[in-house]
């Protein structure tokens, strides 16, 4: 290939990504944002009508919007750190020098290789009050089983546990990859410097993993804000709407209620929410220098 100036090379290298992104995302997103200013409900039989911020105003006194948003934020606040901690632990465990590596790698990846919707189904089954293995195990320890999905809190807990289980392997995977690129000699130096394992973890591992962790966190947070399949499959948002998420509500409004205007407005709000989070993370990256 030709040798190009850095600038030209950069343009060339970024072009495929840019083209794909604009085709698949930018255009649809632009349409989405545009639609959010229209009253466009396919079930009304009326043509689209420009209504300005009307859809956004509607949101303000839509209790379900607030409830689902709150649930979404809560799920994010619980499952992102949860997945990070569990994922980190799993990665550290998996990074031990096992003689045969593949069972370890496999068990790290299986949760993640299980399609999301089916993970939801399977865990719904696990948490089933009668036929579920969770209650069965509890019973074996002499603890009476509970009806997980009869209580908003328990249902919420079950969902969060499932999400953490499912997503911690994503975290673990990225962290594990990061771990493997840290030169061993740094641990040797730290060891000689007198740092214990814990200290090494905080002074060497963590700082050097930071880029990988931030990447994992950004995307985990974004996907947490978009949580859909697992509550959809496990509780359908129930009992009532107590475990419904914003994404489920958007899905309902667009795909089921066909209220494209309102659905788009909701999506834009979710986008803004994600962006806020992203900006915070990017700031963290930048301070890295």
């Amino acid at each position: 290939m030709l040798d190009l100036s850095d600038r030209a090379l950069a343009v060339l290298l970024l072009a495929p990504a840019a083209i794909l992104l604009s085709l698949i995302i930018v255009y649809p997103v632009a349409r989405l944002a545009y639609t959010s200013f229209f009253s466009l409900s396919l079930t009304s039989g009326l043509p689209a009508e420009f209504v300005g911020l009307e859809n956004y105003k509607l949101m303000i006194d839509d209790p379900i919007f607030w409830e689902t948003t709150w649930n979404t934020v809560l799920i994010t606040l619980i499952t992102v750190p949860g997945a990070l901690v569990v994922g980190m632990a799993l990665a550290l465990l998996a990074n031990l020098p096992f003689r045969t590596q593949w069972p370890v790698r496999l068990s790290l990846l299986i949760p993640w290789a299980l399609p999301l919707s089916f993970a939801g189904l399977i865990f719904a089954w696990f948490f089933h009050s009668e036929y579920g293995v969770v209650n069965d195990v509890l019973n074996r320890f002499g603890i009476p089983g509970v009806i997980w999905f009869n209580s908003p809190n328990l249902a919420f807990a079950a969902i969060c546990l499932t999400i953490i289980w499912k997503t911690s392997s994503f975290m673990a995977l990225i962290i594990l990859a990061g771990l493997q690129t840290i030169p061993r000699s740094l641990y040797e130096a730290a060891d000689v410097d007198g740092a214990g394992r814990l200290r090494q973890f905080f002074e060497i591992t963590l700082p050097l993993l930071k880029p990988a962790i931030v990447v994992a966190l950004i995307f985990r947070t974004i996907t947490a804000l978009q949580t859909f399949d697992i509550p959809y499959m496990m509780t359908g948002g129930g009992p009532g709407t107590s475990t419904s998420t914003l994404a489920m509500y958007i899905h309902q409004n667009t795909v089921s209620f066909l209220d494209l205007g309102y659905g788009s407005a909701l999506a834009v709000v979710m986008f803004l929410l994600s962006m806020c989070v992203t900006v915070v993370y990017l700031r963290i990256i930048r301070t890295k220098g």
């Binding site: 009668e130 999905f149 129930g238 009992p239 009532g240 309902q252 209620f257």
Partner: protein, 386 residues
């Protein structure tokens, strides 16, 4: 000409294929292909909504759940059948497919909710099939007292937030002579709603139904009943055939009857079934309509009744000798189907449904009182059906 028919794969596409073969034979030059997908009503709706929102013309004929024609018509996704005489069908289907005076789809087959019961147990304790929910409760208590089997539940119904829960709510509600929506207007009766919700909750509280009824979906009811763990079950027609299948523990012990009423009310049941619509974006409107006419014809209905155990949409077919021979219990079913009520016919049915099912689920899970539930349903429905 090529036509593409969308049939969800739970509706026996291979049997429908035979009907289409006949059609192709009768109409040389027409080729009909089947596209299957979206195996539940919801998955199917999800798929069709995407395609239709994008104004895709690849599908000509669509099979639609009975609750959808109104929505599809309002969105302008189906073409109306001008001048079609609907009186040949069971009245409920004529109603369900007519929106604002226009025929928007033609019935494919019928369905409704039944009360399944354990004939053997009822006979053992000398109980008649209950006509009211109170009778049912009493029957359960008697049987439970006698059987002393902790695993045997009295009544299984759908408490999970699925479409079935809408019917769950409507059964006692209707039974009190109330309706929910008339001519697109909300006719909500809060007292009736509270009573309905209280009734179901009382089943749970009194141990007639399981504590985890809020987890129970349609097929859970079927499985539990089939495993012999349930005395009474509220379910659709499909459960019959399976309860007589080889995996069933209750072969020959199953009775089917109309659903009970509220004391002092009328027995009412929930109408199911599916309809044929012609996509508004189809490039072969006339051919598609002709095909739908055929699919919805008495011959096809009869064929499907015999070969697919699908309930006919024509009253006369329930007495048809061939049909009765193939499915003897259809004779009992007719009365039920005839009196079944369609769920509210409104373009915004999905929202109505969502409101009702989540509330029913919340009440049954015990996180909301029946009164609050009724209030919530009322306020949300008002918003939806402004």
């Amino acid at each position: 000409e090529e036509l593409k028919v969308y049939i969800s794969s739970q509706h026996q596409p291979q049997v429908w294929r035979q009907v289409l073969d006949k059609y192709e034979a009768a109409n040389p030059g027409t080729k009909v292909t089947i596209e299957t997908g979206g195996n539940t009503s919801e998955a199917q709706a999800q798929y069709l909504n995407t395609i239709m929102s994008a104004k895709d013309s690849s599908l000509d004929v669509l099979i639609l759940d009975v609750i959808r024609p109104a929505q599809f018509a309002a969105a302008g996704w189906t073409s109306p059948f001008e001048g079609k005489d609907m009186s040949v069908y069971l009245p409920a289907y004529a109603e369900a497919n007519t929106v604002d005076g226009k025929v928007v789809a033609l019935p494919a087959f019928a369905d409704s909710m039944f009360l399944y019961y354990r004939k053997d147990l009822l006979e053992k304790y000398g109980i008649q099939p209950p006509k009211t929910w109170d009778e049912l409760k009493a029957a359960v208590k008697k049987i439970n007292g006698g059987e002393n089997n902790a695993d045997l539940q009295g009544l299984s119904f759908q408490g999970k937030a699925i479409e079935g829960a809408v019917c769950t709510f409507l059964l006692p509600y209707w039974s009190q002579g109330k309706s929910l929506v008339q001519n697109g207007k909300l006719t909500f009766d809060k007292d009736a709603a509270v009573k309905s919700l209280k009734l179901w909750k009382s089943f749970v509280d009194e141990g007639v139904s399981k504590k985890n009824i809020a987890e129970v979906a349609t097929d859970d009811t079927r499985k539990e009943f089939q495993a012999g763990n349930v005395v009474f079950a509220v379910n659709w027609s499909y459960a019959w055939a399976q309860s007589q299948g080889k995996d069933s523990a209750v072969v020959g012990k199953v009775g089917v009857t109309r659903l009970p009423a509220m004391t002092g009310g009328d027995q009412a049941t929930c109408l199911g079934g599916w309809e044929w619509g012609v996509s508004a974006y189809s490039k072969n409107q006339d051919a598609a309509k002709k095909l739908v006419q055929f699919l919805s014809s008495p011959e096809s209905s009869k064929f499907m009744a015999i070969n697919g155990s699908l309930l006919p949409t024509y009253a006369s077919l329930y007495q048809d000798a061939d049909v009765v021979k193939a499915a003897p219990w259809f004779a009992d079913a007719k009365q039920v189907v005839e009196t079944a009520k369609p769920r509210p016919v409104t373009p915004r049915y999905n929202e109505v449904s969502e409101t009702i099912r989540t509330t029913v689920n919340a009440v049954l899970a015990g996180v909301m009182t029946p009164e609050d539930g009724a209030t919530q349903i009322e306020s949300r429905l008002k918003r939806i059906l402004r």
